[in-house]
């Protein structure tokens, strides 16, 4: 097993009101098998022992499914590996002596909480606006009464796998949330269960997205490139089509 020395430039910011800056750290003995977040754990253990404030970053499942982690690594949301969340990135991706720059996802709609931690409740409010099928508990018909063609179901599933990390927003030059919003719209609008509220849902979610201060989509497709679960940009096309249909 090879051990590496890694140089880190990490964004440190006390809270949304204070200015932030990069701090440099040098970390020895980094194993190639460590995950990226485990490398930061080791850094934090060192900082705590030195009496300094550890670096705050969001994480929970560390399996690439909860969507908590979303840091920007060397300018790219979630780091260099395609379809891989930061927590699933391993240090074997890097070489001894590499310098790695770590920043929070930057967007007006994601205010900084501390260091690399941001507030993404804007995403919850977009879902709240209409990202659901209104069925009360107990009111559902027998499950097999609603057949869904396998290809439609698979397509809906692909959109539904969005983990809500916000990497798409961080990557977008406009800080657009179109991929996130489009993925939910496309998931629900493609299913037979989602038809009754199709127009209402699309308009409400798109309007909320704008209200939160996310920019518009200009088809850069940076979002698709960094998405850790590979949500296709066709979600945005579906959303736009449904939006146009809904307003006319």
């Amino acid at each position: 097993m090879s051990l590496m020395t890694i140089n880190l430039k990490v964004w440190r910011q006390k809270n949304a009101e204070s200015p932030g800056k990069f701090e440099d750290y040098k970390l020895d003995g980094v194993s190639e098998h460590m995950s990226f977040l485990e490398m930061l754990d080791v850094l934090n253990e060192d900082l705590i022992k030195e009496g300094k404030d550890p670096v705050e970053f969001d994480y929970d499942c560390r399996e690439g499914i909860c969507g908590s982690c979303n840091m920007v690594i060397n300018g790219r949301a979630h780091g260099p590996k395609h379809k891989t969340a930061a927590c699933q990135l391993h240090m074997r991706t890097y070489n001894d002596g590499d310098t790695i720059v770590i920043e929070p996802p930057r967007a007006a709609a994601f205010p900084i909480v501390k260091d690399l931690v941001v507030d993404r409740t804007a995403f919850d409010r977009i879902i709240e606006a209409g990202g659901y099928i209104s069925v009360k508990t107990g009111a559902a018909p027998e499950a097999n009464l609603i057949p869904v063609p396998q290809d439609i179901s698979n397509e809906a599933f692909d959109y539904a796998t969005c983990i809500g990390c916000g990497g798409c927003v961080a990557a977008c030059p406009n800080s657009s949330a179109a991929l996130f919003t489009g993925a939910k719209v496309a998931h629900l609008n493609s299913l037979p269960q989602g038809q009754p509220e199709r127009d209402k849902r699309t308009i409400a979610m798109v309007n909320q997205m704008e209200k939160e201060g996310f920019g518009d989509c200009s088809n850069y497709a940076e979002c698709e490139a960094v998405c850790p679960v590979g949500i296709s940009i066709s979600a945005i096309a579906e959303m736009r089509r449904d939006y146009v249909k809904a307003i006319f």
Binding site: L47, G67, K81
Partner: protein, 639 residues
């Protein structure tokens, strides 16, 4: 302390229906006057919050994460059981009930488990109506897969992300109610204490994890849906923020803690690679449908796995359990893996792993078919280990995964504290000494959608609940005690980090309160836990301050609580002088090394009352006897 399980009388299949017909109702205009607190937004919490709000209650919901959608239910991979019998393979509510109670090694209540099996079908209906994209057949109808401990195919799935899809369904249902204005959501808030007024649960104390402020919330009932305590072991498949603090502090306020020693060790996880390891990653049990588990027959085997011929491979599950083979329940699979590794047959650098091999399945069905079934799991494995499981067998090893124990609840899912309900993994209710695969999602949603909404209403309708405000002195006292713990931790300024202590505690637990346990080991574990806990309170270093976002302060108070819960787990494991389900005592085994139950003396739920902590945990054991009217207790056999 009196523990009345309140199981309704009558035939098994009619208990729940009759009970629902008898419980008290509240009219819509009265529901509006009541407030319910839901802590946690996993499957149980989100589904309970959505359902209660739809009924008309005012609901306040708390999540420790930045969004309720991230609760750890999201990581469940394989599936959810239901007794739909869509495969026409003979499934029924009775069979799902029977498999679940047998799988739990007869340490759960018949009535609760039967109700779970009854509710299973409604969960699938509900989820489909919400737009949860389950796997389907070409004709557009729902597909099923097989899971351990059952001989029918009753598991519904969304590729390897069933938990994610079901959680998003419940989360969206809850957000719909946030939109309605009846649910108020508090993100990044951690419950630190339960507030009792006149002996009833009337509110909670939380810490706003961003501002660091301590806040008070009053209600007519509190529903705890805060998950399990697997993270006591430090390394587990649980998410890093999953913790036992809310449940443990309810215990310290008087809620009985049941079966704390029942911890499920999942057989198929990616093995530990180094000291820096922060968590373990599960590989879904569904892989055992097509993967064959084996180790080399010879201790000194040096050949790479693909060069080891058939006769030198020991397919130990298939040989020892011919009728279930690789699909034995989780406890049997985990224990078998440990035994072959104890015999020196383990593989990999550490010798603490076995092979899970897809060679034969790929030969039989083609790589494309296997990829379609498990593609995302194979990718995940390759990403973590840098090995290609289509070409070389996976290496797997058991890891702590789920806790069957939890706060004691009656049939209504209410703890012994009136007004404190506990749902999902946080309660002890349905899985006995071992949980079958694809049953956790079922239980979380059964509790949240279909049980708590009824039973909370029954409680509120039947109780005299005078208005309380957060000015009540009980709130002040709870704020003070929570604050004191944090201040104390921050003031120690010792030389070891929280993580170092946690890792040491985890090692004691894994070695001595893990897959196999002995009297000697447990006694020494208790001494070691106490000594390490004393050291923790003398020598831990917690960075920063309490009045801003400080993750390591959160870890510190959670680990402080683990130190107490860990001792209770060891005490319970020591008291239970039998082997059952996941609890294997070395002293109690059959000649073939199978778990040997002692139904005469141990057919009970152990429920502990907290009496204090004075160097050692002072606790009183209460026994709820388990009566089996409808099933015959048998030695479990999967041979």
């Amino acid at each position: 302390m009196k523990l009345d399980p309140k199981i309704p009388s009558g035939p098994l299949a009619e208990k729940w229906t009759n009970h629902r017909n008898e419980i008290q109702l509240l009219s819509p205009n009265n529901k509006r006057k009541h407030k319910v607190i839901v802590v946690g937004t996993g499957l149980a919490g989100a589904s309970a919050a959505a359902s209660l709000s739809e009924l008309g209650y005012n609901v306040e919901v708390f999540s420790i994460l930045d969004s309720p959608r991230r609760a750890h239910s999201i990581a469940a991979q394989g599936g959810i059981n239901a007794a739909k019998n869509y495969q026409n393979d003979g499934d029924s509510v009775w069979r799902l009930f029977y498999d679940t109670i047998k799988g739990g090694d007869y340490r759960s209540r018949e009535a609760n488990v039967y109700r779970l099996a009854e509710n299973s079908n409604y969960i699938i209906d509900q989820a489909v109506a919400q737009g949860v994209p389950f796997g389907r057949e070409y004709g557009g109808l729902l597909d099923n897969r097989s899971f351990g401990g059952a001989q029918v195919s009753r598991t519904f799935y969304s590729r390897g992300q069933t938990g994610q899809q079901l959680l998003l369904g419940a989360y969206q249902a809850m957000m719909k109610e946030v939109h309605s204005g009846r649910v108020k959501m508090y993100n990044r808030h951690e419950m630190l204490d339960l507030v009792l007024v006149d002996g009833k649960a009337r509110g909670i104390i939380t810490r706003d994890l961003v501002k660091g402020t301590i806040n008070r919330y009053e209600a007519d009932a509190v529903i705890l849906c805060t998950g399990g305590y697997g993270n006591v072991f430090y390394l587990s498949t649980n998410a890093k923020n999953s913790n036992a603090t809310a449940a443990w502090r309810c215990h310290k306020r008087g809620a009985a803690f049941a079966n704390p020693c029942f911890v499920q060790i999942h057989p198929t996880c990616i093995p530990v690679s180094g000291d820096y390891q922060s968590k373990l990653t599960l590989m879904s049990e569904s892989l055992r449908n097509d993967g064959r588990v084996w180790v080399p027959r010879n201790k000194d085997e040096k050949r790479p796995p693909n060069e080891i011929p058939e006769e030198d491979r020991y397919y130990y599950l298939e040989e020892r359990y011919p009728s279930f083979g690789n699909l034995v329940p989780r406890d049997v699979a985990s224990r078998s893996a440990k035994l072959v590794c104890d015999d020196g047959l383990g593989v990999g650098d550490t010798g603490l792993a076995v092979y899970l091999d897809f060679r034969d399945a790929i030969k039989r069905d083609s790589k494309e078919v296997i990829q379609a079934k498990y593609g995302n799991l194979f990718d995940m494995y390759q990403n973590i280990t840098d090995e290609n499981p289509y070409e070389v067998p996976m290496r797997i090893f058991p890891a702590v995964h789920y806790t069957m124990g939890g706060l004691w609840v009656d049939y209504n899912l209410m703890s012994n504290i009136p007004g404190l309900f506990v749902a999902g993994e946080a309660n002890f209710s349905d899985h006995g000494a071992n949980r079958l695969g694809a049953s956790a999602l079922m239980q979380g949603l059964s509790d949240g959608y279909f049980i708590v909404p009824y039973t909370v209403g029954d409680y509120i309708a039947g109780e005299d609940l005078p208005k309380v405000t957060t000015e009540h002195k009980a709130f002040g006292e709870a704020v003070e005690s929570s604050t004191k713990i944090m201040d104390k931790l921050l003031a120690i300024n010792g030389s070891k980090t929280v993580i170092e202590f946690h890792r040491e505690l985890g090692k004691i637990m894994w070695d001595k309160v893990g897959i196999s346990r002995s009297k000697e080991g447990l006694e020494s574990a208790i001494d070691e836990i106490r000594a390490l806990r004393d050291e923790f309170w003398q020598n831990v270093r917690v960075p920063g301050e309490a009045n801003y976002y400080n993750k390591y302060l959160e870890f510190a108070y959670r680990v402080a609580d683990y130190f107490e819960l860990a001792e209770l787990m060891a005490i319970d494991a020591l008291d239970r002088g039998e082997s059952c389900g996941c609890h294997l005592r070395d002293e109690y085994q059959t000649e073939e090394g199978e778990a040997l139950r002692n139904d005469k003396e141990y057919a009970f739920v152990s429920a502990y009352e907290y009496l204090g902590l004075n160097g050692k945990l002072e606790t009183q054991l209460h026994k709820e006897k388990l009566d089996f009217e409808f099933v015959e207790l048998k030695q479990r056999s999967y041979k």
